[in-house]
Amino acid sequence: MIRALRAIAGRDLRLALRLGSDTMMVIVFFVLTVILFPFGVGSSPETLAKIAPGILWVTALLASMLALERLFAGDYEDGSLEWLSLAPVPLELVVLSKALAHWLTTGLPLVVAAPVLGLLLNLDPAGYGVLIAAMALGTPALTLIGAIGAALTLGARRGGVLLSLLVLPLYIPVLIFGVSAVDAAIFGLGAGPRLLILGGLSLFALALAPFAAAAALRQAIE
């Protein structure tokens, strides 16, 4: 099981490294949209500091969704998915391995980039630690929930639009608790419970998403 997980995740990481496009796209999108906000809402440091947690989370959400469409599409289009589904491991494990590689290449960069962009938005110094923690705890949920959407929209025309419609509403709890954790830290309230809820959301997604996505993949292969 572990061997198969390493084989699949290793292959996907290698593909991502050689192509490089997904990680770059996510990061460039994240940085560019965040940079747009000072132009849109004015560059007064107080205003920016006030809305910084919200901006960072909303743009991170949108950025992570960008790469989702390719999570299974490549394997679906070239027939690899059929072979993956025949491997002597449960399809749920295949989903999990691919989601892991996907998080490492698109979720982790967001976690790293968020504090840097926080500087740009004049985020309160008290918020950085919690921002990183909240992103690290919340982005796995984004990837896992997104995997369900990506599997469901395989083979659909205009799958990307459908994917956003399916996935964005499910991202809302992560957004709410992600932003409120950072706000709580800035206002000196305890961020702990909110971080715990974020972690809980990720664990919940971890328990549910592989099964849902695998069921959707079986439909897609048919």
Binding site: A4, A7, R11, R18, D78, E82, W83, S85, L86, E222
Partner: protein
């Protein structure tokens, strides 16, 4: 024709494999497996493709699927692989219905469809070795070398897949059959794009596979030597026009 398949690499790592996979390896003790379909029917896009189709395959057996385009050869292979649930009838392995346990069934078979499942940025060696590792070969590196050797790809081992010709990609797909050994091979038009020498290599691989007790079901329009193969002409199971009108 001597192709380089070391006898050891057809075995499985019992520690890494679920019990069902070890049983299906069919090596020691010699185990007679039987794969059969009974009165199968298949519906695709609300159209009946074939009905009342039965077949039986046992150790070392081969089944050649023939029929005009659209007669359901690919659909039948996908039913056999468990990708599609048959609309009627039963698919059994040693008498046990396979549609109930797709995972166990999947681990018994290798399926080569129209797509080559090749990633352009990986090298030939990496592509095959990935499947060898995933399918639990004892020694993925050796299994990969043997598989590439058998389809004359060894000298291209370090080439990225994007540089391969379509025939070479096809051979790459076929070499996974040997790197990730399975009891049942389901091959959909495996010779597309292959030259005569490569077809001979495929025939040799199939012969060696059958000699060790493996089974093959193969859909083709061209001549592929399959000694003692049963032929299943799909057009015989096409729904009658009257019945189709009722659908």
């Amino acid at each position: 024709m001597g192709i380089g398949i070391p006898p050891g690499h057809m075995s499985y790592d019992p520690a890494a494999a679920p019990a069902a996979r070890v049983r299906m390896a069919g090596r020691e003790p010699p185990h007679m497996a039987e794969f059969a379909g009974e009165a199968l029917a298949c519906v695709r896009a609300e159209r009946l493709v074939f009905k009342d189709l039965s077949f039986a395959l046992s150790d070392g057996g081969a089944l050649r699927l023939t029929g005009p385009n659209g007669s359901g050869k690919s659909s039948l292979l996908r039913v056999m692989a468990g990708f599609i649930r048959p609309a009627a009838g039963a698919l059994t392995w040693d008498g046990a219905t396979v549609t109930k346990d797709r995972e166990t069934h999947g681990s018994r078979l290798a399926f080569i469809g129209h797509l080559d499942a090749a990633k352009p940025v990986l090298t030939v060696d990496e592509s095959v070795r990935f499947w060898a590792r995933l399918y639990g070969a004892d020694d993925p590196a050796a299994a990969t070398t043997a598989a590439l050797e058998a389809f004359d790809l060894l000298r291209l081992a370090d080439f990225p897949v994007r540089l391969l010709s379509s025939g070479q990609r096809r051979r790459l797909a076929l070499s996974r059959l040997l790197a990730a050994p399975a009891a049942l091979w389901l091959l959909d038009e495996p010779t597309t794009g292959l030259d005569a020498a490569s077809v001979a290599r495929l025939e040799a691989a199939i012969a060696a596979h059958r000699k060790t007790g493996g089974m093959v079901a193969l859909a083709t329009h061209t001549d592929v030597a399959l000694p003692d193969a049963e032929t299943l002409a799909l057009e015989r199971f096409a729904p009658t026009p009257a019945l189709e009108a009722n659908e």
